[in-house]
Each structure stands twice: as structure tokens, then as C-alpha cells.
């Protein structure tokens, strides 16, 4: 086939592509601000949240040596780890204290085991005053070269020395890095700290050849295990070590297990004690309440939408304004208004007592429980049901109902067999909107929900702003996202997403 040429002799395809490319670029440029905005403010935070829900680098970053040493420890032995692990912990802790990362790690592990936070704080304060200074003194006394920072720096850049005392070399490097980063000093002018000498001592005792041969065998070894236990007996607690070991990997499913009331044990997931289970109940409650709110919205919204779609324009417009009125007031104001209305000494109870439906001493509990949340949220989310319903109903010509009646159907049959099926797309759209909005709702349940009427989102907010357990908040959020996506998928399978209409 011969190639078709454009008027200027170029291949027609190339010309067309060039012409279209400009169009595409222009279109892209037009949506670029929105695209960037969405990327930055929506896609990235969600990705970050998903990442945070499994991310757990803090343990292995803060206690790299301890984590490594713990690999050899068997948690089922019933014994706390031995000297080697405490040696590693000493170095890690001494460094972490300078970086001030030990408190962060303490809070992180405290989510899993209460008490770890104070244990780490306490140990961080004391780790500098451990009795290991005897090692440093012994080396300095044996040969002044060990007191010379410059000499240390020279040794540590000598490969034969490094090969002879590898642990000391690595420890020195970590120390030197810390000196530069935290203290902004030159390691070549600073005498190494005790933990470097401790490493050197340990290697010397083990028979390594020192850069300057000295005999330190006469020095009484200091048990770091005892030092730590002296700070806090909890260091002998197997649970502490187990927790560290379980959360040692860079990525963990611990947050997710936590979100579904499970516990990450040494042998995988375990059930949490009954008294500590809250999230599954909360998830189920969130679902059930969202479904109830959705159902209430359908029941209340359908007739209003029908009226809106069938009244004369003037009246319909007025009604529409009433429907949209809630949007014009602040969410907080509306929710507070519900507090006024629903409380036991509130307007609704007063009226009920006044007309004698309810005894004065039997006033209804309408707020700070699930009833309150459902009432207030139904009111707040009702427009989201009415609007899609209305816009779908508006497109159903009245002649369908007339046709059905002329064919012999009663009012009810005509409605149920002819009108209702055609309004289902609107119901679908409204339900999806209301359900998804309510499942993640926060302010209203917080204000009127009391303890029984709160949603999972309130718990997420608590973990984000109060307990600062962002990993757990992220895991809960991810589960919520997954549930919504799952329900969306189920809805698509049953009703079909093509059947959702927001209008036209």
C-alpha cells in the first residue's frame, strides 16, 4: 500500500499525529493544575497512608546491633537474652540517646507493650553513666596512644587495624558519624566514648590483635546485662525482648493485626484478650450505622425527591431551597442544634412529655448514643440522597405512569412495576454517596455519638491526634478504604455501576 501524503508532501499520518499532539498537549496543560493538585493532595497522602500502615523501620534503624544479636535468641527459652545482646543494646542505646531516637522508639514499642516507653527513657538517661569507663581507663593507662583522638582516627583508617578489630571499627564509625552529625565536632579531636572502648575490650579479650598490644586481661569485666537490670528490672522481662524481636523487621503486619483485634505473637497472629477488643466491633457498628443512615435517607428522601420532580416549577424550586438549606449552615452549627433538640431536657423530649407520650421521669435518651448519631447524620446526609434521586426522577416522563394506568395497573402497581425500577439508578447513586460519606464521617458522631455512637473514623482521629499511633491509624484507614472498595465492587456486581446516575 502506498503511503498517503499530505499537501506538503509529508506522510498524512505524521501530519495528523502532529496536529493531534498539539491538541493533546493543550488538553493536558488545561488539566495539569488539577492533576498536580490531586496527585499532591490525594494520591500521595493515600499512598503514604498505605505505606505507613506496614512501615516499621524505626526498630531496626534505632537498634540495628541489638536486632542482629537477637536473631540468635530463642524467645521460647524462657530466659532473657545474654550478655552479647546487652552489649549490642549498650552501643545502640548510647548512640540512640545522642540522636534522641530512643524515646521515639520507646513510644513506638509502647503501643505494643505498655511500659516500654519509660524503660527506654530511663535507660537512655543512665546509659552514659554505666561502669564501662573502667575499660577506657584501662586502655588509656596501658598506653597513652589509646587516649589520643588523632591516633584513633589514624587506626580507623588503616585497613589492617580494621580487619583485626572489625566490631570496634564499626562502632567507632558509628560514633564518629554521630559526633559529626549531632555534636558538629571533628572525631579526630575527640576521644572515643566508653562504648567504643567496650567494643575494643571485648575484642581484646576474645584474642584479637590490638593496634598497640596491651594487656587488659586484668580488668574486671563489667556485665552490661547487670548494668541494664540495675536501671530497670524490666530488662529481664521476656515480653520486652519478644516485642523488640517481633517488631524488628522493616515491614510489619502488626498494625493490621491490631486493627482487627489480633495480636502479633512470636508464632504469628494471636487473639487479643476479650477486654482489649474494640476495632472489629467498631467496624461492624460503623457498617450497621452507615447502612441504617442510608436506609433512613432512602425512606425520607424518596418521597421528597418525588415531590420535587413532580411539583410545579415554582413550588419545586422553593422546596429545593429547603432541601439545600442545610448546606448553607455550618456543619458544626447543625450538629450543635441537634444537641439542643435531642438532649433529655431538650425540645423534643419536652414536647413528648407535654403531649403525654413520655413520662417526665422517663425522658428518652436521644443523644450521646447511636440514636443521636443516626438522627443527626441522616439529616446532614439527606441532600446527598435527594439530589441524585431528584435528577433521575426528573428524567422519568410522567407518561410512563399514565401508560401503566391506562394499561390497567393500579396506582401502586404502576409505581412499583414502572416508576420504581426506573428510579433505581438514582437510589443506587444516592446510597453509594450517603454510605461512603457516612462510613468516614467524623465530626457528627464525635459530637452527638457519646461512647456508643462513635465511628471507626473517630478512633482513627484519636490515633492520629492523641495517641500518635499513626501506623495503627493508617492501618485502620486502609481497612476502611478496602471495605469501601469491596462494597463498591459488590454493588457493581449486583446492581451494576452503569446503573448509577447522578443526573441526565
Amino acid at each position: 500500500m502506498t503511503e498517503v501524503l499530505a499537501a506538503d508532501g509529508r506522510p498524512l499520518k505524521a501530519s495528523l499525529n502532529r496536529a493531534l499532539r498539539r491538541q493533546k498537549l493543550r488538553a493536558l496543560a488545561l488539566i495539569a493544575p488539577l492533576l498536580i493538585f490531586i496527585l499532591v493532595s490525594f494520591v500521595m497522602p493515600i499512598a503514604d497512608m498505605l505505606f505507613r500502615s506496614v512501615e516499621n523501620e524505626i526498630v531496626s534503624d534505632t537498634l540495628p546491633r541489638t536486632v542482629k544479636a537477637l536473631e540468635g535468641w530463642d524467645s521460647s527459652s524462657g530466659e532473657a537474652p545474654g550478655e552479647a545482646v546487652f552489649n549490642a543494646l549498650y552501643t545502640d542505646m548510647a548512640l540512640a540517646t545522642e540522636y534522641k531516637s530512643h524515646t521515639r522508639l520507646g513510644s513506638r514499642l509502647n503501643y505494643e507493650l505498655t511500659g516500654v516507653s519509660s524503660l527506654f527513657r530511663k535507660s537512655g538517661r543512665r546509659v552514659k553513666r554505666f561502669d564501662t569507663d573502667v575499660y577506657a581507663d584501662a586502655f588509656r593507662d596501658a598506653d597513652p596512644a589509646y587516649a589520643d583522638p588523632g591516633q584513633w582516627a589514624a587506626w580507623m583508617s588503616d585497613d589492617t587495624v580494621r580487619a583485626a578489630v572489625p566490631v570496634t571499627a564499626a562502632t567507632y564509625d558509628a560514633w564518629a558519624k554521630m559526633i559529626v552529625e549531632v555534636d558538629n565536632d571533628d572525631p579526630a579531636k575527640e576521644e572515643p566514648w566508653d562504648f567504643v572502648y567496650t567494643a575494643l575490650y571485648n575484642e581484646a579479650v576474645a584474642g584479637a590483635s590490638l593496634p598497640v598490644a596491651v594487656d587488659v586481661s586484668g580488668v574486671e569485666p563489667v556485665s552490661l546485662r547487670d548494668q541494664f537490670v540495675e536501671v530497670d528490672k524490666d530488662w529481664l522481662d521476656i515480653d520486652v525482648w519478644q516485642t523488640i524481636k517481633i517488631y524488628a523487621p522493616k515491614y510489619t503486619n502488626g498494625y493490621f493485626l491490631n486493627s482487627v483485634d489480633l495480636l502479633k505473637g512470636p508464632d504469628g497472629a494471636e487473639a487479643r484478650p476479650e477486654s482489649e477488643r474494640i476495632y472489629v466491633v467498631l467496624f461492624i457498628r460503623t457498617m450497621i450505622m452507615s447502612l441504617s443512615i442510608m436506609g433512613m435517607c432512602v425512606l425520607l428522601g424518596y418521597p421528597i425527591a418525588w415531590l420535587l420532580a413532580n411539583l410545579r416549577d415554582r413550588t419545586a424550586n422553593l422546596l429545593m431551597i429547603l432541601v439545600l438549606l442545610p448546606f448553607w449552615t455550618s456543619l458544626l452549627v447543625r450538629t450543635s442544634a441537634w444537641k439542643v433538640l435531642l438532649q433529655q431536657q431538650g425540645v423534643i423530649n419536652d414536647v413528648l412529655v407535654w403531649i403525654g407520650l413520655v413520662a417526665d421521669d422517663g425522658r428518652l435518651q436521644l443523644i450521646n448514643n447511636q440514636t443521636g448519631t443516626i438522627i443527626a447524620m441522616t439529616h446532614i446526609l439527606l441532600p446527598f440522597m435527594i439530589l441524585p434521586l431528584y435528577s433521575v426522577m426528573k428524567t422519568i416522563p410522567p407518561s410512563y405512569l399514565r401508560a401503566a394506568k391506562s394499561l390497567g395497573a393500579t396506582d401502586w402497581t404502576a409505581f412499583w412495576r414502572v416508576y420504581f425500577p426506573q428510579s433505581v439508578p438514582g437510589i443506587g447513586a444516592g446510597c453509594i454517596l450517603v454510605f461512603i460519606l457516612s462510613i468516614g464521617y467524623y465530626i457528627t458522631p464525635e459530637l452527638v455519638g457519646g461512647t456508643k455512637g462513635v465511628f471507626i473514623s473517630n478512633r482513627i482521629a484519636y490515633h492520629i491526634s492523641s495517641s500518635l499511633n499513626w501506623g495503627l491509624a493508617a492501618a485502620l484507614g486502609s481497612i476502611l478504604l478496602a471495605v469501601v472498595l469491596l462494597l463498591y465492587w459488590v454493588y457493581d456486581k449486583i446492581v451494576g455501576i452503569d446503573n448509577v446516575k447522578l443526573g441526565g
Partner: protein
């Protein structure tokens, strides 16, 4: 009236008002025998659709009685009237297949499944749509949808079928085919049909009788030929077909003819239709195809008018010639394109006349 006793459908002094101030239908009287195909024709807003809706039961009459087979149906809800109806936009239920649409009226009448299927099949075959039972309305063309709407209105065998501008949305050719099919079907099945349209050709070709509506009243109720040839007033004359009008004063009435003096001073013969006395102002109406300019074909004593040819339009089967006659430039004559037919030239002076019975003196 004796006739009303045998009437199948009757409107008796029916009035309708929506706002309590204006009457949309004013004092409507109409009776239809069984099996008749009656068309309500009129411009929009003339009240014809309102009448149909009152008959179907979707609007209530403000005053008066609507009788079906001798029984007042004013208080019978639409679904109990048993009247088939075809809507302007077809109103086929979009969420049901064609077969389900047809089955619907049978289901609500609690007819058994096998009988239902048989009736649906018969109704579909009746409109040659037997192969489309499983389709959705959206998958059909306009004409096919119209056929389904028609068979749905007929499937439960109503004795009365109402059609509200059912062919309005179709193209001309399809419309003509369906006009023919609908009338044939209606006559074959012997159903009484009330058909609403604003298309006068449709009304004339399909109906046994046509009721011309204007201003909430029936202006004339007559068979198509009578309606066309003998309009009762100038509205009907104007509304049905093309028409030439000339204004003047009645000068003399003798029996079934009268002499009218036009405003230009010319004298013409006419049939007095709704003029009663000499000196009354009148508007005479002459159909373009009844105007004769060949002197030999006119009566010897016929009055003639001088005319100047302004325009000659060749339209294929006919010629349309615009003339200046008695002070108006809009006088049109139509002549058949026959081999011996004269082709007039602009500027030519001719003499025109007509049979007195073709020229009707109507209200001014």
C-alpha cells in the same frame, strides 16, 4: 337526542378549567358510535389533548359528563376504564423487553401465563414485530417503537383506543405507512378510536370523522370530504387545506346562493353558510384547485374577476400560480399538470371564476 342513546363514547356539556379562571374546554358535546375512527384536530392549546386526557381519566372534567357505553365514567379511575392508549413519546417501559411491555397489561389483569404468551405473540404478529419480542425499546427504531406501543394498547383487547399524536416524531414516509396500518388495524378489529393530531393531512386520510378544535370548542365535526369542501366557518376553512379568502358584504340572498360585493367593488356568487342577512360582512372562501380560468368551463352567467399573474411555480404534479385579484396579492390557484394545461406567465392578464357552490360565504 336519539343518536346519543346508541353512542359508544359521549361528551355531554363537558367543561374543563385548570386555574378556575379560564376554560380550556368550553361546553363540549360529542358522540361517537361504536367502531368509528374519530380524529380531534386543532392547533396546540385548542383543548383537544385535554379532551383525550379526560376520556382516559388523567384529567377530571370540571363540569359535565363523559359516557362510555352509556355509563358515566367521571368517577372511574383510569386503570378501570379499560381504554387502550398510545402516547406521543410511545411511553414504552425502558426497563422491560418488548414482550414484557406487552405482557404488562395482561399481568395486571391476572391472565394466566400461557394465555398471556399467546396474546403477546398474536399482538406482535399483528404489527409484524414478532421477531423483536426479546429486545429493549431502546434497541428499536422510532417506527418499531410506535408499532410496539400500538400493539401494547391493543393486546388486552380494549374496545376504545386513544392515540395522542402517535406519529408526531416520525419522518414523513414512515408516518404515511403507519397511518395506513393504524386505520387498517382499527377497522379490522372493529375498535373505536379517538385520534389526536395537529396534522390535517393525517386527520383527513385516516378518519371516519374529524372534530376540528379551536378555542376549547369543536368548530366542526364532519367526515373529511365534507370538512374540506364545506367548512362551516372561516377558522375551519383556513385550518384545513389551502384557501383563498376575499372580504366583502352580502348584497343579496336567494335560497342557497347569494351575491357578495367585495371590498374592491367586484361582484361574485357564493353559497351562504353562516351569513343570514343582507348587509352583513362576510369572508368568502375558495379552494385554489376549484378556481377556473378557462371561460368555456364556466356557466355563462357566472361572475368573473380580472386577475394578473404574479408568479408561476412548477411543483411537479401541480402548478401553483399566485395572482392579484380584487386587491389581494395572495390569491393562489392550483392546476393539475396535464398535457393540455396552460402554463401562465407572470404579467399575463386572465379572467377567473368558479362554480357558485365552491365559493362559501362565511363569518367575517
Amino acid at each position: 337526542m336519539v343518536e346519543e342513546k346508541s353512542a359508544f363514547v359521549a361528551f355531554e356539556r363537558v367543561q374543563k378549567s385548570y386555574d378556575g379562571e379560564n376554560l380550556v374546554v368550553k361546553d363540549l358535546n360529542l358522540s361517537m358510535p361504536k367502531g368509528e375512527f374519530l380524529t380531534m384536530l386543532g392547533p396546540s392549546g385548542s383543548g383537544k389533548t385535554t379532551c383525550l386526557m379526560m376520556l382516559a381519566g388523567f384529567e377530571t372534567a370540571t363540569h359535565g359528563d363523559i359516557l362510555l357505553d352509556g355509563v358515566s365514567i367521571n368517577n372511574i379511575p383510569p386503570h378501570k376504564r379499560g381504554i387502550g392508549m398510545v402516547f406521543q413519546n410511545y411511553a414504552l417501559f425502558p426497563h422491560m423487553t418488548v414482550a414484557e411491555n406487552l405482557s404488562f397489561p395482561l399481568e395486571v389483569r391476572k391472565i394466566g401465563k400461557s394465555e398471556r404468551e399467546e396474546k403477546v405473540k398474536r399482538a406482535l404478529d399483528m404489527v409484524q414485530m414478532g421477531d423483536f419480542a426479546g429486545r429493549r425499546p431502546a434497541q428499536l427504531s422510532g417506527g418499531q417503537q410506535q408499532r410496539i406501543a400500538l400493539s401494547r394498547a391493543l393486546v388486552f383487547e380494549p374496545e376504545l383506543v386513544l392515540m395522542d399524536e402517535p406519529l408526531g416524531a416520525l419522518d414523513k414516509q414512515l408516518r404515511e405507512t403507519l397511518q395506513f396500518e393504524i386505520t387498517n388495524l382499527a377497522h379490522e378489529l372493529g375498535i373505536t378510536t379517538v385520534y389526536v393530531t395537529h396534522d390535517q393531512t393525517e386527520a383527513l386520510t385516516m378518519s371516519d370523522r374529524v372534530a376540528v378544535f379551536d378555542d376549547g370548542r369543536i368548530q366542526q365535526l364532519a367526515a373529511p370530504d365534507e370538512l374540506y369542501e364545506k367548512p362551516q366557518n372561516s377558522f375551519v376553512a383556513q385550518f384545513i387545506g389551502e384557501n383563498n379568502t376575499l372580504d366583502g358584504v352580502v348584497q343579496e340572498i336567494k335560497g342557497d346562493t347569494c351575491i357578495v360585493k367585495l371590498d374592491s367593488g367586484d361582484i361574485i356568487d357564493a353559497v351562504p353558510v353562516n351569513v343570514t342577512k343582507v348587509g352583513e360582512r362576510t369572508r368568502v372562501s375558495i379552494r385554489p384547485e376549484r378556481v377556473e380560468f378557462n371561460r368555456e368551463r364556466l356557466h355563462d352567467d357566472a361572475h368573473t374577476l380580472k386577475a394578473e399573474v404574479l408568479e408561476f411555480i412548477y411543483m411537479g404534479d401541480i402548478f401553483r400560480t399566485r395572482l392579484r385579484v380584487a386587491g389581494t396579492d395572495e390569491f393562489v390557484i392550483k392546476t393539475r399538470n396535464a398535457p393540455d394545461q396552460a402554463r401562465l406567465k407572470p404579467g399575463q392578464m386572465i379572467e377567473i371564476g368558479w362554480m357558485p357552490e365552491d365559493c362559501r360565504a362565511l363569518d367575517a
